[in-house]
């Protein structure tokens, strides 16, 4: 008989996600549902506002992936208004982008994902001297690895557990049979959980220099708000640049000597997870990090493309304004379309919320009906996975040597082939490998900024089209980026100097979408199929695969409201 496992709330993510998994007699998942259980209506709220303000509204879609919606938004408005930002603006945006990646990916690994693999309580049994030996073997260049250091950490864990107040670690899955790390590896990971927590607040200061604060630094249509004036004590000057220059080598150190060694060490204990959680096998990236303006896709550090059916021999092109490529359906979502419509490109989309789920409190949802606040985006009818694994695979399959080098080196260390990437562990590893590329690119982009300044270019904004008086009566545009969690695009229509329509399709909507009209599962749902569960009451295995995607539900569960007035009427009623 089929058993149903409900995980709600899924924790250590952003936002509100519910997973229902159906198990067969051997406790393997044979069907799964992913349900976004929150909805805020940001796009409706944007209707009629000043397009230059849109970045601030959309940035508040998510504070974990802070900056990504702001970046997509200013690009969309610039695309609509015909603005090409100065090279320094692209470089500074790239620096902020890469800072976000490095910080966010490290936090994801240590603070959101690690506890799926690391048994904190097991660390109590660790021998500090043996842990020290392990740590020095795993990462010879990481300084904090003495027996005394681990003895202190072990004492910390012991006293914490003995205090009886376990805080965020209470009532978890400690002792679960799916945990495989020896006590010493667990203790090492706990120590690094704390080190990473201390470090993440440092690297993010790069955002503060250029954007004034983090989370939610400031952006600007036409460039960046922080002027550069090397001879001024009240703009970006040598002192500000030095602050950044000092933070980058530390970031590279953390990624190369803490994150990656830990990732590979943990992965080596879970070889079975290179065969679980693969899912769709369809991967998509929009690309980002322009080197010659956002219009020149060929010069992106992160390439664009689609891979279907795990076929790394072919990378297909993506066109975000081709009405036949990106489309959204609502077959299992709490929305309704006009009669006869089933799937629409965002430029032509219609959204009317229509909650038909069970009245709360409820015990379970019905997979044959609507069951999510997320819509169902598809690329040429295919369900797609987006995110670090998709980007690494597109880079790899595009023949980029930088991508190939880091992938092959890691696969070699783990003694597995490229097929291991199509898995839960592959997804988790891809995020780490991408962070490695990003940490070094951060240095490259900073060097580029210095080069520009040496060449006498300190321009940070193009203000020719700042005034709405210079705008055409009607225009439309789109702005894309690669958020840490995957491909993101905003579409905007401007009419009479105001936002007439604003639409967003975000990474977690691709990944967490419900099944479509044809019955194709979303990426989360698909990835859960076949997952073995040792103890269905303690759903550790489900968390592993879902966390490998790094879910962000505040992003995913928004509404696309092209006809704002109509939508507002319906909702307000």
């Amino acid at each position: 008989m089929s058993k149903r496992v409900v995980v709600d709330p899924v924790t250590r993510i952003e936002g509100h996600l519910r997973i229902e998994a159906m198990l067969d007699d051997t406790n393997h998942v044979h069907d799964a549902m992913s349900s976004g259980t929150m909805w805020r209506g940001i796009e409706v709220i944007l209707q009629g506002r000043d397009p230059r303000d849109a970045w601030a509204f959309t940035e508040r879609i998510c504070g974990v992936c802070t900056t990504v919606h702001a970046l997509a938004s200013v690009r969309a408005v610039e695309n609509a208004l015909g603005i090409q930002v100065p090279p320094n603006a692209d470089v500074i945006r790239n620096i902020m982008f890469l800072t976000q990646y490095v910080q966010d990916h490290v936090i994801h690994f240590y603070h959101l994902h690690a506890l799926d693999w690391v048994d904190v309580v097991s660390a109590l049994k660790a021998d500090p001297a043996a842990t020290s030996a392990l740590a020095q073997k795993v990462s010879p260049k990481w300084g904090l690895s003495s027996p005394a250091y681990f003895s202190d950490i072990a004492g910390t864990v012991k006293k914490f557990v003995e205090s009886g107040q376990l805080g965020i670690f209470q009532n978890a899955y400690w002792g679960h049979p799916a945990y495989k790390l020896p006590p010493e590896a667990n203790l090492m990971a706990v120590a690094h959980y704390l080190e990473a927590l201390k470090w993440q607040k440092e690297i993010i200061k790069i955002h503060t220099v250029f954007g004034g604060k983090n989370p939610h630094p400031n952006y600007l249509v036409g460039g960046v708000p922080s002027a550069i004036a090397l001879q001024s004590d009240n703009a970006i000057n040598m002192e500000r640049l030095n602050l950044i220059r000092d933070l980058i080598p530390r970031a590279i150190d953390i990624v190369e000597n803490l994150y990656l060694p830990d990732l590979l060490a943990v992965a080596s204990f879970y070889p079975e997870w290179t065969k679980i959680g693969g899912g769709l096998g369809n991967y998509m990236a929009y690309g980002d990090l322009p080197q010659n303006g956002i219009g020149d896709i060929s010069k992106f550090r992160i390439p664009r493309g689609v891979i279907l059916n795990k076929n790394l021999a072919e990378v297909l092109p993506v066109d975000l304004i081709d009405p036949g490529q990106v489309q959204e359906g609502i077959a299992h979502s709490w929305y309704q379309y006009p009669a006869g419509q089933t799937a629409l490109h965002p430029y032509d989309g219609v959204t009317e919320p229509n909650y038909t789920g069970p009245q709360p409190p409820y015990d379970q949802l019905d997979e044959t009906k609507a069951y999510s606040w997320l819509k169902t985006p598809r690329w040429k009818g295919n369900a797609m996975e987006v995110g670090p694994l998709s980007r690494m695979l597109v880079g790899f399959a595009s023949g980029r040597t930088d991508y190939k080098d880091v992938v092959m080196e890691a696969l070699g260390q783990l003694k597995v082939g490229p097929e291991a990437l199509f898995s839960t562990l592959g997804r988790t590893a891809a995020r780490g490998l991408e962070t490695r590329l990003c940490a070094h690119w951060l240095q490259d982009e900073f060097d580029q900024l210095i080069t520009n300044l040496k060449n006498g270019d300190s321009t940070t904004a193009d203000t020719r089209y700042w005034s709405p008086e210079t705008w055409k009566p009607e225009s439309k545009g789109y702005g894309f980026t690669e958020a840490p969690r995957g491909a993101l695009c905003h579409w905007i229509q401007i009419k009479d100097k105001k936002i007439a329509n604003y639409q967003i399709v975000v990474p977690s909507t691709w990944n967490a979408s419900p099944r479509d009209a044809k019955g194709q599962l979303g990426a989360y749902e698909s990835a859960l199929l076949g997952t073995p569960m040792a103890d269905p009451k303690r759903p550790l295995e489900i968390l592993r695969t879902i966390h490998s995607f790094d879910p962000c539900l505040a992003c995913a569960s928004h509404v696309i409201g092209p006809d704002g007035e109509k939508l507002a009427e319906i909702i307000v009623r």
Partner: protein, 376 residues
Amino acid sequence: MDSNRQSSTYSVLRQHGVDRRAFLQFCTAMAATMGLEATMLPRIVSAMETKPRIPVLWLHGLECTCCSESFIRSSHPITQDVIFNMLSLDYDETLQAAAGEQCEEIRKKIMTDYKGRYILAVEGNAPTKDGGVYCTIGGRTFLDILKETAEDAHAIVAWGSCASNGCVQNAHPNPTGAEPVKKIISNKPIINVPGCPPIAEVMTGVLTYILTFDQLPELDRNGRPKMFYGQRIHDKCYRRAFFDAGQFVEAWDDEGSHKGWCLYKMGCRGPSTYNSCSTVKWNNGVSFPIGSGHPCIGCSEENFWDNGPFYHRLSSIPVPGIDSTPDAVGKTLVGLAGIGVAAHLASYWVRRASGKELPGGTGPTEKPAEHPAEKE
């Protein structure tokens, strides 16, 4: 949970290998953050040595998690100390290891074991339309869970502008009927800590104040701690001198922006925004929006999303210069933003005055200095 096993903050710190000297340094830094005088230090030390760790249930409604992200950026105290040594963060969907039923069990257990003694921290707000179906957790509406968890809380900390004021999902036309905590809970003390997000050290400062002094911070009429929201950003802005001199940024990347002149003409809301950005600053004092060349958008003020467009200078305000005093302008702005005279007067509390009054409220109470503009 056996309450006898609770440890004081200091005892846990000591167990964690923190020596007495480091502990005292930590207390000193904390006192400085809260604007307390050095004479208050013994009291902080004493409190930290004897108080048990307070359980905190941190709920998430309609939000973007920027408050949690800000919280973990705290530099003094660092997050590790707050969540492992000072408080017991027993429920927080963003950080906790348990999921699903296991977290619901924790919430229920803390509500029972610590009835009337736990702090409820709320990030985000509750959609009230259509029975609250726009945010559900474990099949229940967030609205229900919020009300239930508030019932036995000692006090509620409303993190950020969502929980304090409504923030972005509450902006017109508020499609989900999102309402801040104060509109939903009326029988508990609520400390509003607005901002999108609030400054990290303000967040940890509020919590550590409660722990240290075993009392809630003094609040203004909007329920905000006076120690962090007592003055306008403009009052303490390092670019204020340029405002007074009539020197303004007129366009992005112009000469004024290179020289760091006042951003008022670019739409700066500093003159009508109460927050600590220009004093505490962000990310351990690195900068704040104005310091990095962008106007303040007023993110800690009620309805700030609907007071735009952001880049439009507040209308009908005379451009300051030789004919107009800054205080007159400030007064007009305050009136426009709907902030009353009481709050305005409160802005002239010197920070040390609130420090004197803190312990038990028995200290000398200074009369707020009169604002020159009020005489007009």
